[in-house]
Each structure stands twice: as structure tokens, then as C-alpha cells.
């Protein structure tokens, strides 16, 4: 068992502990050797949301991990009416804006910043990368709007209804090349894409299965941006899919494929990348307990809960083992400073950094990890962070770190500087790095002092890690 209390210090952790699936998925119980502290609380919020503000960190410290995860998954009763109201209003704004993909993008970012239920938005983004459909292929903002609303509706719900909805979603059908599924001309490309990229993964079905699934989908059409089922185009003869025989249609396909262990494994593996670690592919032994239990109830919220409460999640195998995607990078700054910025320019900036919402590069979504990083994206990240906090166009003076520090009672430059480092990095920095970051903060208090410090913090290698 670990003897060290600092999150990132892998050397203190025996490798066999980290590799033991029984230990890995047990709930984390803080103790003297592994206490619940600021770095772990912030880690949880970086993965489960787009980053915490100071109030959330303090609350989480007081509540402990289990209760914090409960609240992230399901906001408490008095908050839940707020959540429902927020989502209803946002849906209305979004639907009204759905004639342009740029405004949709801006509305979604605004929602991510302001939502009282950030885990829901975080998981909506996860599913957007999992069931990745791009507007470059769909070319219809209204369809894209409905598609993301569908993902949000089911983001934390049971998995089957989400998949049932998706296979009849106009954006998904067009995005996978399946807007027409004729009896005389079964659309094997659609079937292939669905099985390979969305449901089972490569190697878990045969060519013959794809042909039969294509026949089962006959009758499904997208006409004028709407789903249409044309009965006379449906091939009602018997099909044989993954060892089952019958007169199947698209809904039956969902039912059949979800019985395949590969379907649960694919979701668990992708969630592992999203929530635990994206550089080391876990072995089957590690994935198996989660995949088996998810296969039994297909309950996404329960699966998320298990991962976010687990020993492995609060271990060096997860801590700072992901690179923030551009959305996480920018919103971490914005949410931490507790304000909203103009999201239309933000959407453009994020696209430049490689994450164009509503337009993932392929059906497999964003590759992520080290692929986010090259010399130019690092320069652009630094310039984006600067633009966000420097108080000039296009983001203006919306973010004001000095005022925030003062609100929390930190008035001297030194105290305010320390507060910023604690807020964004929980002071989890090597002493020498900490000194460099805070260098000069004592001597002078200029008006831009704290803005400059936030920029400095946001360009630290540590800050790029989720």
C-alpha cells in the first residue's frame, strides 16, 4: 500500500498495487497515508467537469470524495430545479440559434461555462467524440443541434435508449453515409461505420454481419433533415446477425449488438481514456470488471460513479495523466475565474487549437493526448490564455483575477498570488517551479500583476495536464 501522500509520486506506489483490478475499482477511502486534499479534489473536478472554482474546491474538501461524486452525478433537490430550468432555457436559445453552426458552437460553450450541472456537459462532449458526427459531412446546423441535444438527454442515462435514438438521428445517419437505406440497395457502408466506429469496434463483427445489419436498416431514410421510415423499402425477410436469426429492423440491431461484450468494452475503454489515463492502454484484466458490470445494466451514471470513486482514479495512474483538450484548457481558466467570456471568438480559437465543436475530424472523434500538442498549438494556447485574461478585445475585462482574489479576502499581492496558484494548481508544484512562478509578486503591485500571473500559471507545463 502507498506510503506517500502526494498524488503524483508513482515511485512510492508498488506497481502490483496499481495493476490489481480488485484494488483499482474499490471505492477510495481516504486515510492518513492517502488523505483527501486539495489536489485530489481539483483532480476530480478537472476530469468530471471543466475545472473547479474556489468555492467548489472548499465544498469538496468539506464533503469528501463520495458525497462530492454523488453531487456531481446528481445535483441535490433544490439545485435540480435550477438545472432543469437552465437546460430548458439553454435548449430554447440553442434551437433559436440553430441556423448557424458558429452560433451553436458559441451557445454550447456558454452552456459549459454557466451550467449548474457540469458533469452533464462534460459527458455530452465525451459522447460527441464517441459518436462523432461532423457538420462538414452533415452540412445542416439544425440536425447538428438536435444531435447534440439527444446526446445531452441521454448523457448520464441508460445506454440503450441513447443508441436507439442515435440510429434514427438524422445527423448520425447522414454523418455515417446512411441517409438512404433501400431494400434493393442495402447500405453496407452505414452498417460498417456503425458497428466499427460507434458500437463494437473493429474486429468484433464479420463482413456478413455488416451486410445483414445493412438489410435490417433498410427503410430508414433522411429526407429534408428529418428521419423517415418508409415501410415499403424495408426488407422484411429473415436476417442473421451475430448468431441470431429473425426479421430484424434497426431497433432489433441495437438490442442485439448491445448484448455483445465488445459493446460494453468499447464504452469502458473510451471512458478509461477520458477519465483515468490516455497514454497507457489498459489490459483486458483491468477493464474486465467494469465491462462485465456495465454489460449487465448498461447504466452510464453508475459506471461513471464507480470510476470517479475508485482507488485507481485517486492514484498516480490517473493523476496528471491526461493532456487537457482545448475546451478543458480554456474553460479551466474561465470557470476558475468565475465569469463568462464571449464564446463566439472562443469557439474560433478552440477550432484553431484543434477542437472545433460540432466538427470532430473523423468518426472516431478527437484523438487527443499528445496529438493536441505541437509547437504551434502551444504558442496558440499561450496566446489564448493571454487574450482571455489581459483585459483587451475580444474577451474584454470579463475575467478579473485581482477582484476574485479580493472577494476571497486576499488583498496583498503576495496573498492574492498564492491564492491564484492554489486555485489553478493547488500549490502542487516543485518548490523551485513555485518560486519561479511567484517571482516578483511581492515587490510591486501593478494593475496587471495578477493577470500576468494567471497567464504565467496557464502556460506552465503542469497546467496543460488534466
Amino acid at each position: 500500500m502507498p506510503t506517500q501522500t502526494e498524488p503524483g509520486k508513482r515511485a512510492e506506489w508498488p506497481a502490483d498495487v496499481l495493476a490489481d483490478p480488485n484494488w483499482a475499482w474499490q471505492p477510495f477511502r481516504p486515510d492518513r497515508r492517502r488523505p483527501w486534499n486539495l489536489p485530489w479534489a481539483a483532480h476530480l473536478f478537472r476530469r468530471a467537469t471543466f475545472g473547479a472554482n474556489w468555492k467548489q474546491l472548499e465544498q469538496a474538501l468539506a464533503d469528501g470524495p463520495q458525497l462530492t461524486v454523488d453531487r456531481l452525478l446528481k445535483p441535490e433537490a433544490d439545485d435540480s430545479t435550477t438545472v432543469a430550468g437552465f437546460n430548458r432555457t439553454s435548449d430554447e436559445f440553442e434551437t433559436a440559434a440553430a441556423d448557424s453552426i458558429e452560433s451553436l458552437r458559441a451557445w454550447w460553450l456558454r452552456r459549459m461555462i454557466q451550467t449548474p450541472h457540469p458533469l452533464l456537459e462534460k459527458m455530452t462532449l465525451f459522447w460527441h467524440g464517441f459518436f462523432a458526427v461532423s457538420n462538414s459531412r452533415v452540412g445542416n446546423a439544425r440536425s447538428m443541434c438536435q444531435y447534440v441535444q439527444l446526446l445531452r438527454k441521454h448523457a448520464l442515462g441508460p445506454f440503450s435508449p441513447m443508441l436507439e435514438g442515435l440510429v434514427r438521428d438524422p445527423a448520425v445517419l447522414v454523418g455515417l453515409g446512411g441517409e438512404a437505406n433501400r431494400k434493393a440497395q442495402p447500405n453496407v457502408a452505414l452498417a460498417q461505420n456503425l458497428l466499427e466506429h460507434f458500437i463494437l469496434g473493429p474486429g468484433n463483427f464479420s463482413e456478413k454481419d455488416a451486410q445483414e445489419v445493412a438489410r435490417a436498416f433498410s427503410g430508414c431514410f433522411v429526407r429534408g433533415g428529418r428521419f423517415r421510415y418508409i415501410q415499403r423499402e424495408h426488407d422484411s425477410a429473415e436476417k442473421s446477425i451475430l448468431g441470431r436469426k429473425g426479421n430484424f429492423d434497426d431497433r432489433d440491431v441495437v438490442r442485439i449488438v448491445l448484448k455483445q461484450p465488445a459493446a460494453a468494452r468499447l464504452v469502458v475503454r473510451r471512458l478509461y481514456r477520458w477519465l483515468i489515463n490516455e497514454t497507457n492502454e489498459p489490459d483486458d484484466k483491468m477493464i474486465a470488471p467494469l465491462a462485465e458490470s456495465f454489460a449487465r445494466d448498461l447504466d452510464v451514471a453508475r459506471l461513471l460513479g464507480t470510476i470517479l470513486r475508485s482507488n485507481l482514479f485517486y492514484s498516480p495512474a490517473a493523476y496528471r495523466q491526461r493532456i487537457k483538450c482545448p475546451v478543458e484548457y480554456a474553460l479551466g481558466i474561465v470557470r476558475g475565474l468565475e465569469a463568462t467570456v464571449a464564446t463566439a471568438p472562443l469557439g474560433r480559437h478552440l477550432a484553431q487549437l484543434g477542437q472545433n465543436l460540432y466538427d470532430p475530424p473523423t468518426m472516431d472523434g478527437w484523438q487527443g493526448g499528445r496529438c493536441w500538442i505541437n509547437q504551434f498549438t502551444l504558442l496558440d494556447r499561450s496566446n489564448l490564455a493571454l487574450a482571455l485574461v489581459s483585459g483587451v478585445k475580444p474577451y474584454e475585462k470579463k475575467l478579473d483575477p485581482a477582484a476574485l482574489a479580493a472577494r476571497y479576502g486576499h488583498h496583498s499581492p503576495e496573498a492574492a498570488g498564492r491564492f491564484i496558484v492554489d486555485l489553478f494548481l493547488q500549490a502542487d508544484l516543485a518548490d523551485n517551479v513555485d518560486r519561479i512562478v511567484l517571482e516578483g509578486i511581492k515587490t510591486q503591485a501593478g494593475p496587471d500583476q495578477l493577470r500576468r500571473l494567471v497567464h504565467r500559471v496557464a502556460t506552465l507545463p503542469e497546467f496543460h495536464l488534466a
Binding site: 496529438c371 505541437n374 504551434f376 504565467r456
Partner: protein, 436 residues
């Protein structure tokens, strides 16, 4: 090494040489402009210019003495006394005098009869075919240059990593380099579409240079490099090392970009065309040596490009080929000044040629085969392959004899030194166009 270049490197590295030497990404290594065998060297650069809309090859490389040509194009044919004669049969468009000069200097090869069998003559589909290099596969999700960018290790010689001292806890940093870039600000060609890599769009030199809040208080400068360089004791996190190293590379790249931006001499002498502006940017980025190996830009950009002249073609086409020829020649002259031309291969791409016969509106229809232009310092120069016959046509257009993927393989394999099969899905025989 030329004076400019030496001065530039001094300026770029400046006082931070120490920081740089500990943090070299492959792309940032100092390289000499010494000639070496193409394909074996690792500092070659490919520049792709997309001619959007389907360039009329017949009025670019003109079969001026062919009766068939003259008779089929009563108003569009270019007169024999005006074209720049390559030989007794072919000549460049009258406004392509700069290409004629490059041709005479041996810097230009014309690959004739390029295309693919059963070409789709619809713009979108044909452009998609050229860009994906997977004709007919509507499901193909990436472009050929994007696929090359997705595998930076394939684009980089291991030799570049050797000898460069690196941060402690050495990590492989191939991924943190930028193998490809779009030059321009409009919609980028699908050819650059990558599954994994983030391919930057660059429209000016200072766009990506690190900015700071103007000085005025105790937190001067960025402290960025200092913080990235500082050791992290007891924290063997490879991702953190990767980001430390990447940050140092980014700082070095920023310095190089700024140095080139401030060096007025590096601006070269270019005509006032958009393409010229973009190629000047390419030349300056090559000088800045930030590790980009593939540049892609376009002429006549947009969805259905400027080369698509179904009516009143003569004037439009004339202006475009003139822009192409003048802009490319300006870049060649500019790169030559600093002995950089030997590192560069430029190629043009266009989705199809055009029909032999003109239509009733002084324009032409969508065709098949067309010439591809290769420009660079290591080419043999001259005509490559036969001019496709005007008597043996395919639905009114010249027939293809050289698959466009052979040209791609030439660029990828013989020039950039990467495995072209991995990008093109099959082995295409590279053309024999380079000097030994």
C-alpha cells in the same frame, strides 16, 4: 552558409542558446543547405499549390501547332507566335514567361497526362478523390497530406534526434513537431485533413509569435522558458516532461518566427498577388526552420475554384496562370538567394483538366488528364511523359497515362523520404524526376 542565414540563426537563438540546446525538437535543428541525395536527407520541404476548379492543361502547356487544338478551340486557342515554345509542338501560355524561364533554368518539370482512370468529372467528387488519394471511396475520412502529418515519425529521420541534448528523463518528442501546415486563412483543402494531428493554419508570421502583457510591473517577461526548464525532482511524469520539452520548443519556434518577421531582407521581392503573398510566407517559414515539412496553399480557392471556366475562359485563365507563374518564380528566386532551393519541391494539383473543344460560351467543360508542375532545385527539369494525343480522347478530353498517385509517391517517397505505401494504401512507382 549565407550571411543572411548565419545572421538570422544568431538572432533567433540569441541569448537563449542554452535553453535551446537542451530542448531541440527535430524540426529545429540547424541544417546546412548542402545538397544531398533526395529521399535520404531529412530536411526537404514539400509545397503543394492547389489549383481549384480544374485547370485547363491545354491552354497552360499548349500544343500550339496541333490542328486538332486550333480547330476545336476557334476562340480559345492560343496563337503559335505568342506562346513560349518548349519544342516544335508545345509551349507555355503567353503570360507564363516566368515558367518558361524556370524551365530553361532546369527548375521546372512538367509531368504530362496526369489523372486517374474513370475520373469523376464532378468538382466536389473529383477534388475529394485527389485530396483523399482514394478515388471512389466516399467513406475515406482523411486527406493524403493529413495522413502524412498523422505519422510524424515517418516524416522524420532518426538522425535528427541524435546528438541533440535533451531534458532529463528523455522522452520522444516526434509528436510535438508540426509536420504540415495550411498557408492561408480561408477554407483549407481536404488534402490536409488529418485524423490525429492538429495541422495549423498560418496566414502571417506574427500570428503565432508569443505575446505578453506589456511590461510595467514586477512580473516582467514570461518566465515561461525558465519555468519549463526547471527540473521537477521526484516526479517522473512522462507527459509532464513532454510538455516541458514542447514548451521549450515552442519558445524557440516563437523566437525564430519573430526574427524572420523582423528581418526585412527575408521578405524577398514578390508580385502583388495573393498566392505570391502566401508563397513568400512559405519561404519565410522555411527560413525560420521551425520544422514544417509540408506546406499547402491554394490558388483560385473556395469550393468551386477560379479555374472552373465554363464561359469567357480566356481572360480569367490568363490572369490565373500568370499569377501562378509569377508567384512561383518569385519564390524560386527568393529561395535561391539563400541557397534554400535545393531543399524545396513545389507541386501543383488540380482536380481535372478540361475538354478539348470549347463550348458555345467561350469556355470549356470538365475534362480528364492535365499536366502537373514540379518546381525545385533538385529536379532534372523538362517534360515528363508524352503529351496525351488529341485524336484519342475520352469523352472529349485527353486520356490519362500517369496516375496522380505516382506523383504523390514521388513527393512522399523520393522527396520527403517517407513510406508512401502507408499514406497511399498501395505502392505507386515514383517518377524519375530528380537529379542524382
Amino acid at each position: 552558409m549565407s550571411r543572411t542565414r548565419r545572421e538570422f540563426i544568431k538572432a533567433a537563438l540569441g541569448g537563449s542558446l542554452v535553453a535551446c540546446s537542451g530542448a531541440r525538437l527535430p524540426g529545429l535543428c540547424d541544417r546546412s543547405a548542402r545538397a544531398a541525395t533526395p529521399g535520404k536527407r531529412r530536411d526537404t520541404v514539400l509545397v503543394v499549390v492547389e489549383l481549384a476548379g480544374g485547370n485547363d492543361g491545354l491552354n497552360t502547356v499548349v500544343p500550339y501547332s496541333d490542328r486538332q487544338y486550333i480547330e476545336s478551340r476557334p476562340t480559345l486557342h492560343l496563337p503559335a507566335d505568342k506562346v513560349h515554345k518548349i519544342d516544335s509542338k508545345l509551349g507555355f501560355h503567353p503570360r507564363m514567361d516566368a515558367f518558361m524561364r524556370l524551365y530553361e533554368e532546369g527548375h521546372l518539370s512538367v509531368v504530362q497526362g496526369v489523372g486517374y482512370p474513370n475520373s469523376n468529372r464532378n468538382h466536389e467528387a473529383a477534388a475529394r478523390d485527389w485530396h483523399s488519394a482514394a478515388p471512389g471511396d466516399a467513406n475515406c475520412q482523411t486527406g493524403w497530406l493529413g495522413r502524412a502529418a498523422d505519422e510524424p515519425s515517418r516524416l522524420q529521420g532518426a538522425s535528427r534526434l541524435q546528438g541533440a541534448s535533451r531534458l532529463k528523463g528523455a522522452v520522444r518528442l516526434d509528436e510535438a513537431s508540426v509536420p504540415a501546415a495550411f498557408i492561408g486563412s480561408g477554407k483549407r483543402p481536404f488534402s490536409l485533413h488529418a485524423a490525429k494531428a492538429v495541422v495549423p493554419g498560418i496566414s502571417s508570421l506574427d500570428q503565432h509569435v508569443l505575446r505578453t502583457i506589456p511590461n510595467g510591473d514586477g512580473l516582467g517577461g514570461l518566465g515561461l522558458e525558465q519555468a519549463a526548464k526547471a527540473p521537477r525532482p521526484g516526479n517522473p511524469n512522462r507527459l509532464l516532461n513532454f510538455l516541458q520539452q514542447g514548451t521549450l520548443e515552442a519558445c524557440a519556434a516563437s523566437r525564430r518566427l519573430r526574427a524572420v518577421a523582423q528581418d526585412a531582407k527575408s521578405a524577398g521581392d514578390y508580385p502583388p498577388f495573393h498566392l505570391a503573398k502566401m508563397l513568400r510566407l512559405v519561404a519565410r517559414l522555411i527560413r525560420a526552420d521551425v520544422g514544417i515539412r509540408i506546406f499547402c496553399t491554394d490558388l483560385g480557392g473556395g469550393d468551386i475554384g477560379g479555374f472552373d471556366n465554363h464561359a469567357n475562359q480566356l481572360g480569367n485563365h490568363c490572369a490565373l496562370v500568370n499569377q501562378l507563374s509569377e508567384s512561383v518564380a518569385a519564390m524560386v528566386d527568393d529561395l535561391k538567394r539563400d541557397n534554400l532551393l535545393d531543399r524545396v519541391l513545389l507541386m501543383t494539383c488540380s482536380e481535372f483538366g478540361r475538354t478539348l473543344a470549347e463550348n458555345g460560351r467561350h469556355g470549356t467543360g470538365h475534362g480528364a488528364a492535365a499536366p502537373v508542375f514540379l518546381v525545385g532545385g533538385r529536379l532534372k527539369g523538362g517534360l515528363v511523359g508524352e503529351h496525351p494525343s488529341l485524336k484519342d480522347l475520352d469523352q472529349g478530353a485527353q486520356k490519362v497515362h500517369t496516375d496522380f498517385r505516382r506523383v504523390y509517391a514521388t513527393a512522399l517517397e523520393s522527396w520527403l523520404g517517407m513510406d508512401s505505401r502507408a499514406v497511399l494504401g498501395a505502392q505507386y512507382k515514383p517518377l524519375d524526376v530528380f537529379r542524382a
